[in-house]
Symmetry: C2
Subunit: 257 residues, 2 copies
DNA sequence: CCTTGGATATCGGTT
DNA sequence: AACCGATGTCCAAGG
């Protein structure tokens, strides 16, 4: 790339960054990173996104993950060297530095992006927890809610603590995806702790949309229980209690078909 | 955006995707996602990257994380609707669908990116493990290596298994950053398992550059040990054994100064 | 501030 | 194909 073109491109990037604009560059570059780890990426053509908040993202032409990046609040310097542009992004804590050397530009976009829209997401573990807390009976018995995020000594926190019609306490562990054996062990640790703390038996329920392959045998051998939770049921409960009104109102547009 | 422009843009995107090219679009769009979770993002201006392998990434003008995405091997369809382009990306397993409605294009790049370079990274947990395996004595005693990734029944795998001069086995858990209480618990599970499996006492060592706040009290109360590992020491050992020669040879370019 | 735990986590390697 | 642990994990909530 010609010297003048490099200078001009560097100035466009610097000016855009100072003006709070977004920069997208498709370019031939090298990348070095030093911080919690160290990495080196030889010359090749990539997509670079530089955001007004300092986030810097480098994508190779394949894969989901960026090959290199700095998070928001990093700071950038732009300098022109012999035959290349040097972009240095510095993150303060932990101290991390990323150096990009740009040798050629295929395309360069700079400008402000107007994006004031709301982003709504639903289906988290917490959404499931809220739904069960609102209607513990969806677990199949007349449970009553005792507490959420109930401390289990130094073992952690039980997602939910319920009591069944017999007055027996029930520790509930929730997973948003297929519950693994690890989740079963986690529940067991809570049940063991709480049984010891109370001095009498406690039930343990794993609530999840599904069980991973080896989870059921382990669960049963440990005397624990599984209750399937249906995300649609969760949505219905939250919706009836007003938690998801606007979101669900039009989610069907993108959901299927 | 004019109808003809939309049609033309849609065709460019479709043709590029079919030809195995990369697409970067800066556009005014809406996004819906349905799969393991559900999300909705109203209209606004974003950066969209579509890669030849099917990866699809949508970035808002701030933050490190993409607001919506599909991983590689997703498939794309492009259609023109009234006043907008509809991009639908489908991931087969788990079944997940992302719909993008594009109302206006600020910029559109399509083309092949040539990127054959190697990406090298150093400083992983595995690098630390290799260094200790090569020179177990850096943990401060005359340990001998027994095994790497030694299976601890159904609890997982110990990073390293050593034996001390007394013939006592030592389970080692390695962390590349500050070791948390969670790491201490993980080590405890391994030590408990292996003590039971062998029928006599086993030592447990947590090897990491640092201990997180609450980790030391827990570690000591469980009778486990901590050994600090120095990344520079790790680099020296690996370098002397030839593992990092080429990489370290020029990493100084990007590391500092 | 640090610590903790979730995430559409993603990504490999191993079973 | 499922499971398991690492990740420059990132990130928000707060015990």
């Amino acid at each position: 790339m010609k010297r003048e073109d490099l200078r001009e491109a560097a100035e466009r990037i610097r000016d855009a960054y100072r003006a709070g604009e977004l920069v997208v560059a498709l370019c031939d570059c090298e990348v070095y990173y030093s911080g919690r780890s160290f990495s080196r990426l030889g010359r090749g053509e990539r997509v670079i996104i530089l955001k007004p908040d300092g986030a810097l993202i480098v994508h190779r032409p394949w894969g989901y993950s960026p090959v290199n990046y700095q998070p928001q609040s990093s700071t950038l310097t732009v300098t022109v060297e012999e035959g290349r542009i040097h972009l240095r992004s510095t993150r303060a804590k932990p101290l991390e530095v990323m150096d990009i050397y740009v040798y050629n530009l295929l395309a360069l976009f700079t400008g402000k992006l107007r994006d004031e829209a709301e982003f709504e997401m639903w289906g988290s573990e917490e959404d499931i927890k809220h739904a069960i807390a609102l209607e513990p009976s969806i677990l199949g018995e007349r449970f009553k809610l005792v507490d959420e995020e109930h401390k289990m000594g130094d073992r952690g926190y039980a997602d939910l603590l319920l009591v069944d019609p017999n007055g027996t306490y029930v520790v509930v562990e929730i997973k948003k995806g297929a519950a693994t054996r690890e989740a079963v062990k986690q529940l067991k640790r809570y049940v063991d702790y709480y049984t010891a703390a109370l001095g009498h038996p406690v039930r343990g329920i794993l609530a999840a949309p599904a069980l991973a392959k080896g989870a059921r045998p382990l669960l049963e051998s440990l005397g624990l229980e599984y209750r399937r939770v249906d995300l649609r049921m969760v949505a219905r409960i939250l919706k009836s209690r007003g938690g998801l009104l606007r979101f669900l109102g039009s989610s069907d547009r993108g959901s299927s078909r």
